[in-house]
């Protein structure tokens, strides 16, 4: 097929000579040098490849890249402040609270938490659980991840940590 364009993190990228069946996840990682989204299961089960597409959280492994032209795609790289090495508040909370162990699931979880807090700035415990129910973490047991969400909420709302 001929090339197509993808809008990722506010920038237009050309994709040339790709196979029509390539997933957005594959194109991000292998063609656009954006390795933030991780490839875990390639069937939507693990959430490690989560990205935002037109402001909606999706698994990039289940998005056909050639079908995503015209959509606004935001990856983990697009959430981070412009200066290299700087973290978003959610990322920093993950680090501070020990919510990162092997780290493989972390980018997907950070995307899911950013999405949750954008829709719902003060989530209940159940809302947090439902929001990250599609993101598998096999290290932390999730307790530290819940803590990281709560710390972020407290910081954003100017409150104190519970």
């Amino acid at each position: 097929m001929t090339g197509y364009a993808l809008t990722v993190n506010g920038r237009e990228h050309r994709v040339e000579e790709a196979w029509l069946g390539e997933s957005l996840l594959h194109v991000l990682r292998e063609r656009l040098d954006l390795p933030g989204a991780k490839s875990g299961c390639e069937q939507g089960e693990c959430g490690s490849c989560s990205v935002m597409m037109d402001d909606v959280l999706v698994c990039s492994c289940l998005v056909l890249a050639a079908g995503a032209t015209g959509a606004r795609i935001t990856t983990l790289e697009g959430l981070q402040p412009a200066d290299r090495g700087a973290f978003s508040d959610v990322q920093q909370a993950f680090v501070d609270e020990g919510a990162v162990q092997c780290g493989f699931c972390t980018p997907g979880l950070v995307m899911a938490v950013h999405d949750l807090l954008a829709r719902c700035p003060q989530p209940t415990g159940l809302e947090i659980r439902e929001a990250i129910s599609g993101n598998l973490c096999r290290c932390t047991g999730y307790g530290r991840i819940f803590a990281a969400v709560e710390v972020t909420v407290a910081a954003r709302t100017g409150g104190r940590r519970r």
């Binding site: 097929m1 001929t2 197509y4 029509l20 069946g21 997933s23 390639e42 069937q43 939507g44 089960e45 959430g47 989560s50 909606v56 959280l57 999706v58 698994c59 492994c61 289940l62 998005v63 056909l64 050639a66 079908g67 032209t69 015209g70 959509a71 899911a112 999405d115 439902e130 929001a131 129910s133 599609g134 993101n135």
Partner: protein, 285 residues
Amino acid sequence: MAVAFPTTIDDAVAALVAEPTALVLAGGTDALVAINAGLTEVSSVVALRNVTELRTWRHDRDQVVLGAGLTYTDLLGDELGELVPALAQAARTVGSPQIRNAGTIGGNLATASPAGDTLPVLAALDATIDLVGPDGHRSLLLSDFVLGPKRTALDPGELIVAARVPLVGGHQQYRKVGVRNAMVIALASVALVIDPARRTVACALGSVGPVPLRTPGAERWAADHIDWITSTLPGGLADARRFGALVADDARPIDDHRGTAAYRRHAVAVIAERCLRTALKPISS
């Protein structure tokens, strides 16, 4: 063009007629699993993303018309959740937020998996599926649309446009059993729709047969045993259990990698009983 991006239903049908082997891409949550696994050839694609009409819904006094492109997240929104509660409940059990944000009701119909979560609800509601193809429109009852596991009455070049469900005034409910509370494919599922105005009970099962199964015997029995004036079950718990057992009689489960036929039959009896107990006023006995 390897990927067509029609913006209207007519253009989508025209694109499909021009490329009969094209992959019809809705939410992609089933299609990409197959493509990633190397199970599907992709030579051309008709992407429905820009057909905005498919993403709309409307209702009058009698029915709700649900565009095929509505996502599960759309279905569980406040307004639709109030109009068709069982469909919202079913949508909320699908996958994860990521999957619900992408997957569509039209995709659930086209995939026609025995475990498709919206299908038992559509079966219990006697939904009508609207199709458009090169020869024009036609409408099929869900039971005439889903023909077998992953087999539908969809003709080449035909597109699922909408599912139409009647507005029912009474209680409706969807329950499913799986290994966890999220991200799970149903081992057994039950949709229950109680219509006090017509004094009917409709019950449909998922994952326990090749297609969504209605349970006519159990439905008639329940309608005969409900006290429609007080919305109670005078026979109490014993009657609710009896309903579950009758429902299980109509199941046609098989053993597979997710569970056994015996477990599925048992599970469907238990969740049908719970559906009925939840639907009616608390039972004393």
